[in-house]
Symmetry: C2
Subunit: 394 residues, 2 copies
């Protein structure tokens, strides 16, 4: 085969080391605390089946054809956003194939190759992947493990030259940190966005997964100048395979975002849009979220207790009020990537925290998932993990 | 709202004039020959419903979770490609959200902003949209209305400086021209691709929609050097809302294409992949394609006869052996874009051919769809169209 010449953007994309490591975890005896999946046992299979059946029976061929965005779905999401304190028109709910596509669209809208974007120092690998695809320079700001992103550092980052063109933040139940940004910080971020004229992408796949404490409005609710771009997703709420998310887009930007999205993959399946709208309009989401909150609270508490039993003297960790993840910090001299093969031998896996560190470092950290692991497996998994960690100390 | 600064790529994207024109066509009495949809009455609703039910009953939560590509689907497509004379491994069948996403992925793989790409002078607007998104320079080659792309002109284009980085061709039942490339030309394109080391994207959403004549192997079947990139799609075969397509990717490029695609939208719904695989493995595709061929042949013949009845003295048109479209050429002095509002008044619409002309011109042409219009409407539609054309002559 010819040595094809690839685009510069593509040569900037890096294959994830984690992909290769996780591919080694084939033994069914392995307890995986590495996933990022919603609670498998609770996926609403029968309900989804029923909605699909109804949509195909009722809407016939329209549900299998090409189609514009499905208005009833946009209207439902509009009402959902209003409850969060975000007021917009149904048209402004721009349907995407999940949150990742929202990130990709907005990155391409605002960034030229080489432009600077601001992210949290530790953030979801998908954000890194999308933005690295724009071959841009990342400028990072630290995130406090109790209150969310450091807004003073954010202001410094916005003032620095060359001026950034976009920022991406995860305010609720941060992946991988598990922390939520305080109300005050959200308000401050919105003010900074307006002051510096900087589009801030608010990535929110997790806020509906709260199991403790009071909801905090999204940054978008504090938006002063239509400069906050909220991205939502149904993937973690009830079905990753729906591949359905949305962006709240300012009306003036709808034409350009529409053309831009069509250059990605034309449109989102109308069958899926109609089915999700059916699921939502039947009122099935609320009881499902309640059930997930009950189970996830129990699992999170179980993991926190197990960490306390086995690692109290060695590690510190975040105490999330929702979402999927706990972030564990070990003594400085430990390296969770080095430790991974031992863990695999002990049949427990996790994601080394360094995988989320945009500029490297943070080798002594790890992300643990509690949402898709049963309590007995959580207890056994943390016990195994503690053994691995202790044997790395010597 | 702030005047946001957009990326250069985005400012190159143009809002389709046709979108605005088609939005005017709301009167239910309008006969639309403008669509690009497969035959609506034949969409396999009950079959799809049944397959969805089966998949969710059988595969349970796995069908609603995140998931890698669905191997049985890849295997089915591998066998399908083998019948077309293309031999590859199941892994090489890279599943996408439809053909447009395949185009987007390959454009981003091979093109830097500003690079030259070769397309046919008249080609599908989606190809223009995707490639314009890479802000590149298009170099076009003419397409013969009987034998497909002009391969001599293609060779000249490949030799010219600056050297193109990629070419995109539609060999079967061309959109909008309706023509298919001869076997000899396909072989020649493959040879040129190898000789000049140029990746050729072969866009094939239509070859399964043949209703006359013998199938011709895809360009990929003549590939000498792994430099032909075949893109397939199920959208026109049985359901646009499946949003499911594939690229045949050389094994060596799989890692980079995988990472690149994840930067678009992570993955294609496993629920949809499993459902389509179920549909295919039940043997439902073949009878469906046969039924479509029967209906489309009838509709195409009906339109050709109506054109002959009403426009014999004024126009010439292509005589497709499959696909969805007929291409009509009117006298040089007529402009089908100017004529559009008259047509709307006469309650018939079409796509002005200029919309498909990458470098402009071709104002005296139009694209007509026969697949999604009933015979009586085709007859009436062409009659109205002839009136509009004749009144434009004076």
């Amino acid at each position: 085969m010819h040595d094809f010449e690839f685009s510069t953007e593509v040569t900037n994309l890096k294959r994830s080391v984690m992909r290769d490591l996780l591919a080694l975890a084939v033994d069914p005896g392995i307890i995986s605390l590495a996933g990022g999946l919603p609670t498998g046992e609770l996926l609403p299979i029968a309900e989804f089946q029923d909605c699909l059946h109804e949509v195909l029976s009722r809407d016939g061929s329209a549900a299998l054809q090409y189609s514009p965005m499905y208005r009833p779905l946009q209207e439902w999401i509009q009402a959902y956003m209003l409850e969060k304190g975000v007021s917009c028109e149904p048209d402004q709910i721009f349907i995407t194939n999940g949150a990742q596509q929202g990130q990709a669209i907005l990155s391409r809208l605002f960034l030229n190759p080489g432009d600077v974007a601001v992210t949290e120092e530790i953030t979801f690998t998908g954000i890194q992947q999308v933005t690295a695809g724009r071959s841009m320079t990342m400028r990072t700001v630290p995130t406090d493990l109790k209150s969310g992103v450091d807004t003073d550092a954010l202001e410094t980052a916005l003032r620095s030259e060359p001026r950034p063109k976009m920022a991406v933040l995860i305010p609720d139940f941060h992946n991988p940190l598990g922390v939520s940004m305080t109300r005050e910080k959200r308000s401050k971020v919105a003010a900074l966005s307006a002051e510096y004229g900087l589009p801030v992408i608010e990535d929110d796949p997790y806020s509906a997964l709260r199991f403790e404490g009071d909801p905090i409005p999204p940054i978008k609710a504090f938006d002063q100048d239509n400069s906050i771009f909220y991205i939502g997703s149904f993937s973690k709420m009830f079905a990753p395979a729906a591949r359905l998310g949305w962006i709240v887009v300012p009306t003036q930007l709808l034409p350009i975002v529409t053309v831009l999205r069509e250059s990605f993959d034309l449109e989102t399946s109308t069958l899926i849009q109609r089915t999700v709208a059916e699921f939502l309009s039947r009122g099935l989401l609320e009881p499902h979220l309640e059930e997930m909150a009950r189970v996830n609270r129990e699992r999170c508490q179980c993991m926190l207790a197990a960490l306390d039993d086995h690692l109290r003297d060695l590690a510190v960790w975040t105490k999330p009020q929702g979402g999927l993840f706990i972030w564990v910090t070990l003594p400085e001299n430990l390296d969770t990537m080095d430790m991974f093969h031992d863990a695999l031998e002990q049949k427990v896996i996790y994601i080394p925290g360094g995988a989320f560190a945009v500029e490297g470092g943070h080798a002594n950290t790890m992300r643990l998932n509690f949402s898709n692991v049963k309590p007995t497996a959580i207890q056994e998994g943390i016990k195994r993990l503690a053994l691995v960690i202790r044997s790395s100390l010597t």
